[in-house]
Amino acid sequence: MTKFFGILMVLAVMFTVVSSVDLSAQTKKSPKPIKGQVVSLNDIVIGGKGTITKDQAKELAEKGNPIVFKSGKTIYFVYNEDGSFAGKKLASYANNATVGIVGKTKKVNGINIIIATIIESM
């Protein structure tokens, strides 16, 4: 009887451990994308909404002007995982009304940064 009780307890505890590990793994694997629009910082600076077409965005990015990501009222500077600025990559999504970015966000000196792993049209 004691043996049976012991085995039962061990199994119960093991089940708890396995399920908690599985849960935490699931939350890491399926991060939600940040939804927003691709905008021109230049246009926002001069008082516009930042809305641009893909061609305009590409032209601006080529000239070194920042193409950024706006989600709500927050402006994000998007970087690739290798540390390079993803303005040119973002420009390709400028025609999409909503863009989703999966990645790690940071706020440094008041500047919001996303290190993007996935950029997708939504």
Partner: protein
């Protein structure tokens, strides 16, 4: 009986350990978010008298003429801080360095190379980052790159906050 008790204790220890694993990650995240306080630059402290003089000459000025520094407050996005008399002084930085935490010592050549690759240069003054724009609305990264050999750059113009970002519309730039 003791065998099973030991097994149960061992399992409990594993459970507690797996729960604790989350905390260091959260702590790490917070550390990354708060890494902004790594560098201390000389604060741009300007006396109130000079700012008052400046404020008197301009039509668009901040409501509080005693403060000179641009306040990075989203609510004050419409206000502009005038630097037409006393320049804003700061260090040229690369925005991507903020992300990596590796603040490179910039030279003119390196800065020009980075700008050519599409990197954004900005000015850091009193722990605030300013995106520098020309009066025509174009980003002034190329102009900034020319002054990257200087330890600091001084700029005449106007500072304002746009969507939480500090923007400096430069009319005159000089190396220090």
């Amino acid at each position: 009986m003791y065998k099973y008790l030991i097994l149960i204790l061992l399992s409990l220890a594993i459970t507690i350990n797996s729960c604790d694993n989350k905390n260091p990650e959260e702590v790490k995240k917070e550390q990354e978010v708060n890494q902004e306080a790594t560098d201390n630059f000389d604060a741009l402290v300007e006396d109130g008298d000079s700012q008052s003089d400046t404020a008197a000459t301009e039509t668009v000025t901040t409501a509080n003429s005693d403060t000179v520094k641009a306040e990075p407050d989203a609510s004050s996005s419409s206000s502009a801080v005038d630097y037409s008399k006393k320049p804003l002084e700061g260090e040229i930085i690369v925005i991507s360095d903020l992300m990596t935490g590796n603040h490179r010592k910039l030279t003119k050549d390196l800065a020009k190379q980075l700008v050519a690759k599409g990197e954004i240069l900005a000015v850091k003054s009193a722990n605030e980052i300013y995106f520098v724009y020309n009066a025509d609305g174009s980003l002034a990264s190329k102009n900034l790159a020319s002054y990257a050999n200087n330890s600091k750059v001084m700029m005449i113009g106007k500072a304002k906050v746009v969507d939480g970002l500090n923007v400096f519309i430069v009319t005159l730039m000089e190396g220090k």
